[in-house]
Amino acid sequence: MNQTIIKYYYGDYGDKEMPSGAGQHSPVANEWPLWEVFIRSKQGLDHKHVGSLHAADARMAIENARDVYTRRQEGVSIWVVESKYIHASNPDDAESFYEPANDKVYRHPTFYDLPDELTHM
């Protein structure tokens, strides 16, 4: 049975992969673009997605990100990227998309049956 599913793509993922016509949002004329914010909480760790915000350009996005997401020293480095440039995998395909990793138990150390006497391994 064919279903028309209305989907909205907006926010903390890109809108590039939007299937034509589905849940299309006419961009609001006066809104500043949306940016995704990534923060490195300390040296040695990856940048992690923390949320999004609106800003006129990248410089303002970084300054706003500092004020919104790092008021308590939550970060030592900030990345921002305009949300429309994020490409995302499709959750509807998740099952088949990640299927190849499903049956490869031998990739895990616990797959191997070794004698108890064997140490440091």
Binding site: Q3, K7, Y10, G11, Y13, N30, G51, D57
Partner: protein, 315 residues
């Protein structure tokens, strides 16, 4: 997949405590309920800055002024986390702001009460933020991923709000008779509106059932209200003050405090726009939005110009 299959799939995920993310299929009603709840929550944070902002220039010391500014700034942050969580559901920021300004979207009616003495700052932190925290902690486990992540961030920041409020009242309560009277007066005025913050009784609350099934909410209004009453009824003793409810009494059999009847007429009156400060609050928001329009336009024009200039230089 048919709609029934999609719905079953969705409910199975919710039941298994798997979070729903923006691009996942979700029932239209779920999306709608979330947009309403998250945006109204965001509006409450933003409008909530006004009653406290009222006292920034009149804080009694530099220390109290710094604390108050930090708290009000946090509330702005909370509004922004929540607006961006709502945007993942397909509503734009401008639409939400338009709904607030037109009166279509509500915000917590507690912010329609005036802040008339300095002790109100303490009472708001202790009671209003205290009630908000009671509501917000379970929302950290709400079923919608972006909302839950925003709430985790909010809750981390809220605890200082309540503590600074109580501490400020504690200092006043050890002060002169006039200061003590000021504390009691603030408690008397903020107590009932604070327990109304949990919303109508469960029997009259229209959205509770679906929200519980979808795990947007995890506890009912009355459950959370009771917890709050039990907590505050004990804490007020440390201030050597009283709550303005002659029926407040520990009930051994229930293991809870009994409390008096809430004036729902007042509640609905304030919700529908007739509270002491409804007009003032909305006027202040609209004015800020209108007077900021040129800044938004100028920043946009500037950014566009810079992109153009960079392109010309590259050519």
């Amino acid at each position: 997949m048919t709609t029934q299959e999609l719905e079953k799939n969705f409910q199975d995920k919710v039941d298994a405590e798997v979070r729903i993310e923006p691009r996942d299929w979700m029932p239209g009603k779920y999306r709608q309920t979330l947009i309403r709840q998250i945006s109204q929550h965001a509006h409450s944070e933003i409008v909530g800055m006004l009653p406290e902002g009222n006292w920034i220039s009149r804080a009694p010391s530099l220390k109290r002024k710094q604390i108050l500014i930090a708290k009000v700034q946090d509330e702005a942050g909370h509004g922004l986390y929540l607006y961006s969580a709502a945007e993942t559901l397909g509503i734009t920021r401008d639409e939400m702001i338009e709904q607030l300004h037109s009166g279509k979207a509500k915000y917590s009616s507690i912010f329609n009460y005036p802040t008339i003495t300095w002790a109100d700052m303490g009472a708001i932190g202790w009671l209003v933020d205290g009630a908000a925290i009671m509501n917000q902690v379970p929302l950290c486990r709400t079923s919608y991923g972006p909302y839950s992540r925003a709430m985790i961030r909010v809750c981390k920041e809220e605890s200082f709000h309540q503590r600074q409020g109580f501490e400020s009242l504690l200092v006043l309560s050890n002060g002169t008779p006039e200061q003590r009277a000021m504390v009691q007066d603030a408690i008397d005025r903020w107590w009932w509106p604070s327990i109304m913050m949990f919303g109508p009784h469960d029997a009259e609350s229209t959205n509770t059932e679906a929200s519980m099934k979808w795990k947007i909410k995890r506890f009912s209004n009355d459950e959370l209200r009771q917890r709050f009453v039990d907590m505050i009824a004990e804490q007020v003793k440390l201030l050597d003050m009283t709550l303005p409810d002659p029926e407040l009494k520990w009930n051994e059999a229930r293991g809870h405090y009994d409390f008096g009847k809430i004036n729902w007429e007042e509640f609905w009156n304030v919700v529908s726009g007739n509270g002491p400060c409804n007009k003032q609050r909305l006027d202040a928001r609209r004015k800020a939005w209108e007077e900021g329009a040129w800044v938004r336009e100028a920043a946009k024009a500037h950014a566009e110009k810079r992109v153009l200039r960079e392109k010309q230089q590259a050519a």
